[in-house]
């Protein structure tokens, strides 16, 4: 009976093939020696390691706890194998523990190394018994076993490659985060589990550009803003570079184009900023994000001259300008809409080509621009003949609230912002789809 028990243990150890188990075999195992015992030992040394004062002792005990845990779990799995479709998963469970023990300790767990090496470590554990003879001597496995071992190694190498490929994909998605915006339903390689919450970097690019523009012209004299807008075409590359500088660098940046066009809206301007994604995606044509910034003239008030203008300024909620404006120069205010996605056609370039002109000779260019802005025109009672008059304050800054005709432009923006976000993309989409 006792002999039988000893034999049983011997057989178990033959398969355990763990260094700890191997050394323990030298000491004749008592009856109470079992995997439960090893797990208990593991917990015990882990608790001790928490209590240990000295650093090296704590380390030693932690490592001991790991080794007890690994051999205990391995033993347990040998006695009660976990099988899926007849495949013994034991080595892979032990392998995971060994991987965590070797590479997963400390503050930063390198998940990539742990996961990629997992199948390989498990293979080593699985094939180790093949190299032990009955009396626990190292031996060369027979031909049949050799073929099995080679296959096992190759299968697990393939698994490692698949896991590595997962990490490759993650690296790509980190370098090109805007890819996450498109769906991967067409892909033969990857699948997105659940919704990935991703905003394209174009949004950040537009936000930063907007901030730069506000920084540049908001609250500045109107003439300065007009001059700046006139040159925005030349400034755009620099603007884009500055905006990207404010973001964390990503490899996808060269896929983001920045475009702008300026419409004049009465006395004010409408600056359309578009960030266009030219990189890979589900769609054939690039997609674009757009926001529309209203560049408004706020009348700094000489109080008795134009009460309507004051009302307009109050209506637009611009109290700060109202109080500080002691002189007569009109100031600039920038109000930007929400960013929205708009379609982009390849035949887009002509539109911005027209855009640079509006601010130069204001009067003639507003006329061709008006058909583009249908909704703002609808707000204005007299579109055709009001076109020349609102430009007057833009041209000579000295006459802000002098004429009663200055009243409509100031009231118009007050109502405009509510409509602007909604009409902006539609307005843009309309001319784009016609050609």
């Amino acid at each position: 009976m006792v002999n039988g028990m000893v034999n049983l243990f011997k057989n178990t150890f033959k398969q355990t093939s763990q260094t700890v188990g191997y050394t323990f075999n030298r000491v004749k195992p008592p009856r109470s020696f079992s995997w439960q015992m090893l797990l208990l030992l593991s917990v015990f040394s882990w608790v001790l390691s928490l209590l240990a004062e000295a650093n090296w002792l704590s380390h030693f005990l932690t490592n001991g706890a790991w080794l007890f845990l690994i051999s205990g779990v391995n033993w347990a799995l040998l006695e009660n194998p976990v099988r899926i479709f007849g495949l013994n998963l034991g080595p892979w469970i032990t392998g995971a523990l060994v991987g965590l023990f070797l590479f997963g300790q400390g503050e930063s767990i390198d998940l990539q190394i742990v996961l990629v090496l997992w199948p390989l470590i498990s293979t080593a554990i699985a094939i180790f018994p093949y190299f032990l003879s009955k009396d626990l001597q190292l031996t060369v496995p027979n031909t049949k076993a050799q073929q099995q071992i080679v296959l096992l190694i190759l299968i697990n190498l393939t698994l490692s490659c698949w896991i590595q490929f997962y990490f490759n994909i993650q690296r790509w998605l980190t370098q090109y985060p805007s890819l996450l915006v498109s769906n991967f339903s067409a892909s033969a390689f990857v699948l997105s589990l659940g919704d990935v919450d991703a905003t394209p970097r174009g949004v950040s690019l537009l936000e930063q550009t907007e901030a730069l523009i506000i920084n540049e012209i908001d609250g500045k004299p109107w003439s300065y803003a007009e001059r700046w807008l006139f040159q925005i075409d030349n400034n755009l590359p620099e603007l884009r570079a500055d905006a990207l500088d404010r973001l964390l660098e990503a490899e996808e940046d060269h896929f983001w184009n920045l475009q702008e066009d300026v419409d004049s809206a009465g006395a004010n301007y409408e600056l359309n900023l578009r960030a266009i994604w030219t990189g890979p995606g589900t769609l054939d044509q690039p997609y674009a994000l757009q926001e529309t910034c209203e560049i408004r003239q706020t009348q700094s008030v000489t109080a008795p001259a134009a009460p309507g203008a004051v009302a307009g300024a109050i209506a637009s909620g611009d109290n700060s300008n109202l109080s500080t404006a002691a002189n007569n120069t009109p100031m600039t205010e920038v109000v930007c809409s929400e960013i929205s996605e708009v379609p982009v056609e390849p035949a887009e370039p002509p539109a911005p080509a027209v855009a640079p002109t509006p601010s130069a000779p204001a009067a003639p260019t507003t006329a061709p621009m008006t058909p583009n802005r249908v909704p703002p025109d609808a707000l204005m009672p007299t579109p055709p003949n009001s076109a020349p008059t609102p430009t007057a304050p833009g041209l000579n800054n000295a006459a802000p609230g002098a004429s009663p005709s200055a009243v409509p432009p100031t009231t118009a923006p007050a109502t405009a912002p509510t409509t602007a976000p909604a009409t902006g993309p539609v307005n843009f989409g309309e001319p784009a789809s016609t050609p």
Binding site: T143, Q146, Q164, N168, I169, F189, P280
Partner: protein, 199 residues
């Protein structure tokens, strides 16, 4: 490398496709090997599985080695294909077809080479009694030269050498045929996928 954000985008379809293609290739190649080399069924399956898995792992290693050093434009095309099953317009679009055809041809001959070398290595490892490489025979032959009964031994050696040479040639032929067969079947499956998508 260190600040990668992990997402739930997983390469599950790739795993399924690769498993399917591997199974198909293993079965097809085992059939060809069995026919050409008169190996038993189980042995042909095992050896076919070994050389195909070897080709897959070597292919992955090459991909992991080459991918980081690809020109950015080409790398982005590869990404576009992996994520969206299509290429996009950039400076490589024009020459892409040539690159693809070239890659296909290279892949065919590279897998052939890997499979042949893998099979030779495997047979040497498993050492069936009748297996010897030509180099081994030549070496043995030269060591026997000084022995007595030279001409007779030499004749025997010569015939054995011819036999080995014949075996090696048969093996090369068989692996080439097997590779061609599995490539063809997989290509048909890929075309089927495209056709099914069109419908």
């Amino acid at each position: 490398m260190d600040d990668i954000t992990l997402t739930t985008v997983i390469p599950l379809p790739m795993v399924l496709f690769q498993t399917l293609f591997l199974l198909v290739a293993i079965i097809v190649e085992a059939m060809v090997l069995r026919q050409n080399l008169r190996w038993p069924r189980r042995i042909s399956l095992e050896r076919s599985a070994t050389i195909n898995l070897l080709a897959v792992t070597v292919g992955w290693m090459l991909f992991f080695l080459i991918e980081p050093i690809l020109p950015p434009g080409l790398r982005e095309q590869v990404m576009s294909f992996i994520f969206f099953d299509r290429f996009f317009a950039n400076e490589w679009s024009g020459s892409l077809a040539i690159w693809l055809v070239g890659a296909g041809i290279v892949a065919f001959f590279l897998t052939f080479f890997i499979k042949l070398e893998g099979l030779t290595l495997l047979l040497r490892l498993l050492k069936p009694p009748d297996f010897q490489t030509r180099a081994q025979i030549l070496a043995e032959e030269s060591s026997h030269k000084s022995a007595t009964g030279r001409s007779r031994s030499r004749k025997l050696r010569q015939s054995q050498f011819n036999l080995q040479y014949q075996q090696e040639r048969d093996r090369t032929n068989a692996v080439l045929r097997a590779n061609a067969a599995s490539f063809t079947v997989i290509l048909i499956l890929l075309l089927l996928r495209i056709v099914l998508q069109e419908i």
